[in-house]
Amino acid sequence: MDSREALRPFEFTACLELREMLGRSAWDERELLSGIEDVPQESIFYHTHSSFLRSRYLAAPYPNDFATWAAIQVRDRVLGERLAAVDPFDYSELETLRGELITIIDDHLGNMQSVPRIVYGESFHFMRSTIIEVPSGVTARTLEEFRDGLRRVDLSAIYFHFFEPRGRRDPAAPAEWLEDELGETQLAALVRRLNPYISSLDGLRDRLLVLCDQYLGAPRHA
């Protein structure tokens, strides 16, 4: 059993998303491309990273809104698959992620005879959101308390701590806390290596609990 105690407790923060419509839509893939070129970064973030906040338990068939729209609404499975393969966590800068999306769609359109557009489907609506932070009241000073907090908190806290972009020394970054406060360098490295892209928030929570259990000794039930 690990008994090291942190001087600075880890404070779990839940969050809420206030969704805002930008009043811009796309009816075909060229308009989607133009929109991606023009919209603010927060909108790129909304349609890629924060779509996980809207699929807490269920992993949707396509992991970002652009891929979902291309595959389901335009019925262009090829573009849907190519956009689905973009892992937003590979890009530390949103502008680089935007550039990758633009390149994929532009390349795809360059190989098409005509621009795929919706026939029966719905147009794409560009959105963005404001994240409202809410203290969960759950804190941890030990790895065991951290594990217990992970299990108890609202899934939005998993999103807030593991999906929202933050600097390496941000106190809300769990891997940094595990390393700096508890000296759990290896566990911190494994946490950093977790890729939430393929799973849902609930799936990510399960994987974090398993990791904590490995370091706490005997596995226990979530």
Binding site: E20, M21, L58, P61
Partner: protein
């Protein structure tokens, strides 16, 4: 049936763990800041029904909340009815006299009503112009509950001059958003899981209702609950059922409201009854608007729920069906497309044949139907319950008062 007062803690039995605590913590951020709702009726209609449930819950959260109702004469409500239809895309004659009457009523109400609050939410077009006649102490938000995706231009441009004075607007679907110079927020409507229409039922209660309605439970039930309206495509549902029936035995229930004051509804009902005649496995049930318990029991008893609309507002009957852990097959229209995740919580379809195919697929794959039903209930739990709506209102207050 009388419904008892519901308290926030009662929702702990149905929402995800921590949701109610989160609501309290979020409310801490706006505690003591007052909220005012203004709409045009105290009873009847979805907005009044929603506010009746919201107001006590906000009070329990420590947010002082008031609800004011705009008063108007019959002529005013004739005008706003025309506005309502015009904003939803039906061509209407709107005269200058009508516009004057609308503005005068709003001005008179702005003088009489107590509109002082830290945040004011004005619901729908009827009281929208009051903003012109009252000094704003804090943010005023316009919440639009109707489908304004294709409004009649004259009506929208008239209302728009008032809407642009607000601090923000709330719409129910992204497609309802307009070109406006103010923030436009998205908030889905919600269902109340503890209301009579959605509460859990004992098997005996379900059996009793079906027995009373004359529906045997000897074969899988397909159910569509909706008004008898062409846009809900009830005849298309019967045609889909007939395709299915060639291969799989089942019953079809079409349950909807009466059509006393709706001549077209009466005509559609007659067409549906004609299309269903001679088949004892089709049940056309005309139920009163208060038949929440009966609708609940029918949804619980169904194997598959259908909402094959060709045009739809938000279509909350889909979320109601999903909440009963049923797979839903819905038309590709309105808010149905945001409620059904294709292949995960149900299917959206674009034709009678597509509807029949998906019914057959689900009837012959009970495990798939069960899994989709469970996914559907979880999806509603996350996205379409009243607790999420409360949370978003508090988040909006917190953001606007920052």
């Amino acid at each position: 049936m009388l419904e008892t007062a519901v308290r926030l803690d009662d929702y702990r039995t149905v929402v995800a763990g921590g949701t109610i605590d989160l609501l309290h913590r979020l409310a801490d951020r706006v505690r003591g800041r007052s909220l005012l709702h203004v709409n045009s009726t105290r009873v009847g209609g979805g907005v009044a029904e929603m506010l009746q449930r919201y107001v006590p819950l906000f009070e329990e959260l420590g947010v002082p909340v008031r609800w004011e109702v705009l008063a108007g004469n019959e002529a005013f409500f004739q005008v706003t009815k025309s506005f309502h239809n015009a904003l939803q895309g039906t061509e209407q004659v709107i005269t200058d006299q009508m516009l004057r009457s609308y503005v005068e009523t709003n001005e008179a109400n702005a003088r009489i009503l107590n509109l002082d609050a830290d945040v004011v939410i004005i619901h729908d077009p009827q009281p929208a112009a009051m903003i012109e006649f009252h000094p704003k102490r804090g943010p005023w938000i316009w919440r639009c509950h109707i489908d304004v995706s294709h409004p009649q231009r004259r009506a929208w441009s008239f209302i728009r001059q008032y809407v642009v004075r607000y601090s923000g607007a709330i719409f129910s679907l992204p497609k309802f958003a307009q070109r406006l110079p103010i923030p436009q927020y998205l908030m889905y409507p919600s269902i109340d899981p503890l209301a009579e229409k959605n509460r859990p039922l004992e098997p005996g209660e379900i059996d009793a209702v079906l027995h009373r309605l004359g529906v045997p439970r000897d074969k899988p039930i397909l159910l569509q609950v909706s008004r008898f309206d062409r846009f809900k495509d009830p005849v298309g549902v019967i045609n889909a059922y007939r395709i299915v029936k060639k291969y799989d035995d089942c019953r079809l229930i079409l349950a909807g409201g009466g059509a006393v004051d709706d001549p077209e509804g009466a005509q559609v009902l007659a067409e549906v009854q004609e299309a269903a005649s001679g088949d004892p496995d089709i049940h056309v049930l005309v139920l009163p608007p208060t038949a929440h318990h009966e609708i609940n029991a029918l949804q619980h008893a169904a194997a598959i729920i259908i909402q094959k609309s060709t045009k739809e507002g938000f279509g909350l009957t889909v979320a109601e069906g999903m909440w009963k852990a049923k797979p839903v097959i819905g038309g590709f229209a309105g808010g149905i497309t945001v409620q059904i995740i294709y292949g995960v919580t149900g299917y959206t379809v674009n034709s009678v044949e597509g509807c029949a195919f998906r019914i057959r697929q689900l009837l012959n794959n009970p495990e798939l139907a069960r899994r989709m039903g469970e996914n559907a209930r979880e999806y509603v739990r996350e996205n379409f319950l009243i607790t999420r709506d409360l949370t978003e209102h508090l988040a909006l207050m917190a953001a606007q008062l920052r």
